[in-house]
């Protein structure tokens, strides 16, 4: 931990002249006056005031008009008074820490430059996620530097305290708050409403407080604890039962509306790592051991995108379908319990049409005994979790693929808090984390709190909940305070270690809670004390912090309670689905989670993986429903041509709805019978269950910082009081208004080009080189010509001309002054990519990529260097109708670093050129902004700085130099190893050149020192071999590669035939996007392989994308193939 040094505070800002008076104070200025005005300077000795002023006026005049503009500003170098031992200026320090999330603590390693955290990576010592992180952890570092966070503690001076009103706040000292909390005498009248936390210290403080009579309540809008509580309730177990899946052994997985690879389920990073390892293939023989994913879901999630078989069902229908699966399993395994079967038949009535699907799926699950896994979404009712529990029990998956943890929850829920408030049992109320006032608009907060004499709110920013409280206590970011917690599956203790002292006068939750005991302590002392009284965590505190994880044994359930009697108690739910009785599913928002990332620009601007929307949420509806709504309300303007396909039958949204990335979406009112209604724009999304509409919680906040204000739509009124997120009986009414959505990808299909190449495992087993027979280059003249057979190293380092008439410049050692010791290249495995988008934010964090705001995204000016293209493909098209069943393919696209780069040849000023090691370099200081390069780039990866994004807030952009500069707080989080780009220059992916150079330098320095030590010579006469100076494979990880939980990205040296990336590129699955343009990109892709089950009713020999491609490429065959659509 770095203790804040008062002297280091001054280092944090660059010193520029703020005014001439500042300048005049410096000795440098006085000496300058001396030099330029020798006569005037002599006057200054013992002059009168009048004479002095005259001279100074003249100097100031000259200084302002003349020379100062030419002088470089004077910088001060401010070293420490006492240099901290471990800190070498210019070398980043790395500390272990952990991000507290509602799904447990996430172990991280934080990079710190001169005491400022700049980048978060996963902790590689935590084996189950192995150095990768999820997207929110990547973005969380930005929250530390959020100018809108609560910069201290405040007292609310408003007369009326209502969520909607804007209160007037006055700064208050944090010491006074802890002081007054420590003086509370009657703890029996104190209540705490907190969000869920896996902090072992917070939970132990809670139980100690409960012993003293304090009432503890827990509320989460997106309650990941629901399944474990419900399952325990149904089984009659005392403690909650948390399902802890282990995908690494699972050969067959059935996901029941569970987005276990995405953001909606806990532990997505570990799940992705384990699950996607089972899909890694290197040769055709691997296709046999590839795992298979069945997904039954209501919304199209990225998990559904990965699935080999996907069935669209509403969330309410999942229960019946699960029963159907269970029947098939029980029957196949010879269970004769008639009573149980009859009850299950009753539950599954009405699902006869899916009988075949369920039967084949169940058979497939049974093929791999103890190696399958069925997992249900956390929003589903307890009955589904109970049936899933029984299914896994029948399959014998316990201990191999899943375990059950016993977790104890003692906190009360929101309803019991309301009850206590109504009974006037509470005198002091503390809100810790969360945002209950925003999430529960149906609770009459103002009335309930009338009897409470003081309310405190601990939160990172002043929000809706703060409005009804007397005090707002600024919450320290997790990089500013100490804590100790557990991971989601309780197998590891992780320390939260601060990297800097709190930037503002803020407190942590532990500091607040411990002050209730009457003693005011710093979070470090609390953690140290707890650690020392619990000897079983680890042997040594210092070592624990160094590694950042300490293993522990989770209390798993050994004998499983019997589920049969509980199943018999499940009552069949009655529901009706039609266009006038819709099911509404609320999911946590991709951008903001439950609203906590509302003011995080990286998250808001990161496109949703499936819809590709930024800065907004919408009501997603299925194409079937869209068509019905269109018929009912012709003026809705949803589908002007009653189709979303263009004249050629290509899946492309209509131009009337889409123009220049601006999507005009009708705002509708979604009316839910039993409680409330919301209004939000409609967005048609293929892949949804016909009568399920999906929207997200976490947007449309009324009291939020500058980034989040005015974005999205508030849907919290549809949230049930028990945090159930499924409603039924909803209907949609148009309002006649429209909303512009910022969608970054209008095109859904590949328009017949083989951009993403994919096939099925069976076909792959026979045709290893299938990717080579797709796309134009498979039948265009061979670009490598006579050099086709050359090795990858030769191809990369010499750029053979093939059959081209033109010669390329020769950069080989023999023929050039300079030579590249390495040849960098990247390989992206499309089979591994789930579309989680963590790479997009990781790249943004590493490379100082600015946030541009919704208005600029609408103009197509987003700056992400890495984008994830999402393509849909469908089985067959009925005329011009939008398909409902789609397959999803993702493709990460960044600069390809083409060998024969089209951008380089058009730059008039040589600002973008090739370097010796194959990087397509971009010299910002040389760029004049003609944008020819972006125009000529076939991959559309170049980004132009239309404004000074980094200098000004998004609403000040158009004022240019007259606009106000933004808060310098955000500058503290910038990576000092990467240039902050200015207006008017082009930028793009650099393969993280700063990391490459850093590693090269480190290798050379080490080699030099080692050789000197080994030989003992003076340094001139030892010899260094080439191998000593080469960066070992795997040393350099690009930001996107490092974060990727499924290891989809490999980066390395192509001139080394043994490097991982060289081997991947020699795999027959390897192909170049738009290879026929002869750009010879250094980034190539490994074609995707799906693994469908031939017995399934929806089985196709080849993926839909293949058909789309062949339909377009060979239109003559199209009609024929349509007739025998199953045989392509």
């Amino acid at each position: 931990m770095i203790r804040e040094n008062t002297s280091s505070k001054e280092i944090q800002g660059k010193q520029y002249w703020k005014s001439l008076d500042d300048l005049a104070d410096t000795p440098g200025f006085r000496s300058w006056v001396n030099q330029e005005f020798p006569e005037g300077a002599s006057l200054m000795d013992g002059v009168q005031r009048r004479g002095f002023l005259k001279v100074m006026a003249a100097s100031f005049g000259l200084a302002g008009l003349g020379m100062t503009g030419c002088r470089r500003p004077e910088h001060a170098i401010l070293p420490h008074g006492k240099s901290p031992e471990e800190l070498i200026p210019g070398i980043p320090a790395f500390y272990s820490s952990a991000r507290p999330s509602s799904a447990g603590f996430i172990p991280v390693i934080v990079e710190s430059h001169d005491g400022r955290p700049t980048k978060i990576e996963g902790n590689p010592s935590f084996a189950s996620s192995g150095g990768s992180t999820d997207i929110y952890t990547q973005a969380s570092v930005l929250d530390l530097y959020d100018p809108d966070r609560a910069q201290g503690c405040f007292i609310n001076r408003s007369e009326t305290k209502e969520a909607e009103s804007s209160s007037s706040w006055k700064k208050h000292s944090s010491a006074d708050i802890t002081e007054s909390l420590s003086k509370i005498e009657n703890l029996g009248q104190v209540a705490v409403l907190a969000n869920h936390s896996s902090s072992v210290i917070r939970n132990s403080l809670f139980s100690q407080l409960q012993d003293k009579g304090v009432k503890i309540f827990n509320f989460e809008a997106v309650d990941l604890l629901n399944p474990e509580k419900n399952l325990a309730k149904m089984l009659g177990a005392e403690k909650s039962l948390r399902t802890f899946p282990d995908f690494s052994n699972a050969k067959k997985v059935l996901s029941l509306d569970s987005d276990f690879l995405g953001n909606r389920e806990p532990n997505s990073c570990t799940n992705t790592k384990q699950f996607m390892q089972g899909r890694k293939i290197h040769s055709p023989k691997d296709s046999k051991r590839m795992n298979r994913l069945y997904s039954v879901e209501s919304d199209l999630t990225i998990t559904g995108g990965v699935a080999d078989h996907r069935l669209r069902l509403s969330s309410s229908e999942i229960e019946g379908f699960t029963a159907l699966i269970l029947i098939n399993l029980l029957q196949s395994s010879g269970n004769q319990d008639k009573k149980l079967l009859e009850h299950l038949f009753e539950l599954s009535r009405g699902f006869e049409s899916h009988e075949k699907w369920a039967q084949e799926c169940a058979n497939d699950l049974l093929i791999n005994p103890k190696q399958s896994l069925v997992i249900a979404g956390s929003h589903l009712p307890g009955s589904v979790h109970l049936l899933t529990y029984k299914i896994n029990q029948t399959l014998g998956n316990q201990n191999t693929c899943l375990q059950y943890l016993e977790v104890n929850h003692t906190a009360g829920n929101l309803a019991s808090l309301c009850e206590s408030l109504e009974n006037k049992e509470i005198d002091t109320l503390l809100f810790i984390g969360g945002n209950p006032v925003y999430h529960c608009p149906s609770v009459e907060w103002t009335d309930l709190l009338k009897s409470v004499s003081s309310t405190y709110r601990l939160g990172s920013a002043i929000d809706e909940t703060s409005q009804i409280c007397d005090f707002h206590i600024g919450q320290s970011h997790f990089l500013e305070c100490w804590d100790l917690g557990e991971t989601w599956i309780h197998d590891t203790y992780v320390p939260t270690q601060p990297l800097l002292a709190p930037l503002f006068d803020t407190l942590s939750d532990l500091e607040i809670l411990s002050s209730l005991f009457g003693n005011i302590k710093k979070s470090y002392d609390i953690v140290k004390e707890y650690y020392e009284s619990n000897a079983d965590i680890s042997d040594n505190f210092e070592d624990f912090l160094k590694i950042g994880v300490a293993n522990t044994k989770p209390s798993t359930l050994k004998t499983l309670p019997d589920a049969d009697s509980a199943i018999l108690k499940i009552k069949k739910r009655k529901f009706e689905l039609s266009e006038s009785s819709l099911e509404v599913l609320l999911t946590p928002d991709f951008h903001t989670w439950d609203g906590q990332f509302s003011n995080n620009g990286w998250m808001m601007e990161c496109p949703h993986p499936i819809t590709k929307l930024t800065w907004d949420n919408a009501i997603l509806i299925s194409p079937v429903l869209a068509k019905k709504l269109e018929a009912k309300y012709p003026e809705l303007g949803l589908l002007p041509d009653s189709t979303m396909l263009n004249k050629n039958g290509q899946i492309a949204p209509d131009t009337a709805v889409f123009k220049d990335g601006k999507q005009k979406a009708p705002i509708v009112i979604l009316d839910v019978g039993d409680h409330h209604q919301i209004s939000a724009p409609l967005y048609v999304q293929p892949g949804l269950a016909d009568y399920t509409v999906v929207s997200t919680i976490g947007q449309g906040r009324s009291r939020v910082g500058r980034v989040g204000s005015g974005t999205g739509f508030n849907t919290c009124s549809l949230l049930h009081s028990d945090a159930n997120r499924i409603s039924s009986g909803a209907s949609i009414k148009p309002t006649g208004e429209f909303h512009i959505l910022a969608n970054v990808q209008e095109h859904w299909s590949m328009e017949g080009r083989a951009i993403v190449r994919e096939t099925n495992a069976k076909y792959y087993a026979e045709h290893e080189d299938f990717a080579q027979h797709m796309g134009s280059e498979s039948h265009s003249p061979p670009m490598w010509g006579k050099d086709q057979g050359a090795s990858l190293a030769v191809k990369a380092s010499t750029t053979p001309r093939g059959n081209s008439a033109y010669e390329h410049p020769d950069h080989t050692y023999e023929h050039s002054e300079t030579f590249g010791r390495h040849q960098w290249g990247m390989s992206i495995d499309l089979n591994q990519c789930t579309g989680c988008s963590a790479c997009v934010v990781a790249c943004q964090s590493e490379n100082n990529i600015p946030i541009v705001g919704k208005d600029q995204v609408l103009r197509g000016r987003e700056m992400h260097w890495m984008r994830l293209d999402r393509y849909f493909s469908s089985e067959e098209r009925k005329g011009a109708e939008l398909p409902s069943d789609v397959q999803v393919s993702f493709q990460g696209v960044a600069c390809m670093h083409c060998e024969t780069a089209p951008c380089e040849s058009v730059c008039p000023v040589n600002a973008t050129v090739h370097d010796e090691e194959g990087l397509n370099a971009m010299a910002y200081n040389r760029c004049v902004g003609t944008r020819y390069c972006a125009n000529n780039c076939p991959y559309k990866v170049r980004r132009f700085n239309f404004f000074d994004w980094n200098k000004r807030d998004t609403d000040e952009l158009y004022k240019g130099p007259l606009g106000e500069k933004n808060d310098s707080l955000v500058d503290m989080g910038k990576n000092p190893d990467v240039t902050v780009r200015m207006r008017g220059v082009m930028e793009k992916c650099t393969y993280c050149v700063q990391r490459i150079q850093e590693s090269k330098i480190r290798v050379k320095v080490n080699a030099q020192r080692k050789a000197k030590l080994a030989t003992g010579k003076d340094g001139a006469d030892f010899t260094l071999e080439e191998k000593d100076l080469k960066v070992p494979d795997g040393t350099i990880k690009t930001a996107c590669q490092q974060v990727c939980p499924s290891d989809a990205i490999a980066f390395g040296d192509l001139s080394d035939p043994e490097s991982v990336v060289s081997k991947l590129k020699n795999n027959p699955r390897d192909y170049s996007v738009l290879g026929y343009l002869n750009t010879r990109p250094r980034t190539t892709f490994l074609a995707k392989v799906r693994n469908p089950n031939p017995n399934m009713p929806d089985y196709n020999k080849k993926p839909h994308a293949y058909r789309e491609y062949s339909d377009k490429a060979y239109p003559a065959k199209k009609d024929k193939s349509k007739m025998e659509s199953q045989s392509y």
Partner: protein, 246 residues
């Protein structure tokens, strides 16, 4: 009709053209001379808050550069030493010199009685930690633009002496900017590293010259030595943008 313009005006256009070309030439020459770092930066010699004498410390006393600039061979950045480095000698030598007041302030900070302990009345900010004082605001002399990422470690370890960019610091009482540090200055050396390469031992020996034989010039001796080092160490300084610009 009489001529409006007298005869002598006929030569005016030619004269103007000639004059303009002279002016243009002069402006171009002026800018190339006066507006380059060679003129604007070389010789820059600001007054420092403490009159540290490099000629005395590095020259006469023979302190190695790395005694104070300790990070230079490991980091991209050649750090200016903290006050503790100065005080390791000046606790005893010239311990009460008024010239060293800013250094002492920075070093002792809250510890006003200089006993190494924090007493209650010394803890001004009340954090219970012994804080150092304000930094000594040394004025930066050598600075590359923000978009240039110069790395000291790689140069110092690969046989490029401090003297190549900073000049004979050991002979400067007050340090001044000795070399232009412009892009052409960098490239000059990156193109012909043999003119500057020297054994690792001699990197901080600013007075070093390659040992030369009878009748051989200094420069020639350097080039011979440099070429051998370049060959032995596999030195290939980057000439493309990515070497310095990121």
């Amino acid at each position: 009709m009489r001529n409006i313009f007298p005869r002598w005006t006929n030569t005016i256009p030619v004269k103007i053209i000639v004059a303009l070309s002279f002016i243009g030439g002069a402006v171009t020459a002026g800018i190339t001379y006066y507006a380059t770092p060679k003129y604007t930066r070389v010789g820059y010699q600001p007054t420092q808050p403490v009159e540290y004498n490099h000629e005395f410390h590095a020259g006469q006393l023979g302190l190695d550069c790395r005694y104070c600039h300790s990070g230079v061979d490991t980091s991209s950045h050649a750090n200016v030493p903290g006050a503790n480095t100065c005080m390791s000698c000046h606790k005893n030598v010239k311990a009460n010199s008024p010239l060293l007041e800013p250094i002492r302030n920075s070093y002792y900070g809250e510890d006003t009685n200089k006993d190494g302990q924090l007493s209650e009345d010394e803890d001004l900010n009340g954090d219970g930690l012994l804080s150092a004082g304000p930094s000594v605001p040394w004025v930066r002399i050598h600075k590359t633009p923000d978009y240039v990422y110069f790395n000291h470690a790689i140069h110092v370890n690969r046989g490029i002496s401090c003297v190549e960019c900073h000049g004979r610091i050991d002979q400067m009482e007050v340090v001044h900017h000795a070399e232009p540090l412009s892009m052409s200055f960098c490239l000059e050396c990156h193109r012909n590293p043999e003119k500057s390469l020297r054994p690792m031992e001699e990197v901080t020996n600013l007075a070093w010259h390659a040992p030369h034989q009878e009748g051989e010039s200094h420069d020639l001796a350097q080039i011979h030595a440099g070429l051998q080092i370049k060959e032995n160490w596999g030195v290939n300084p980057p000439l493309s943008c990515t070497g310095c610009h990121r």
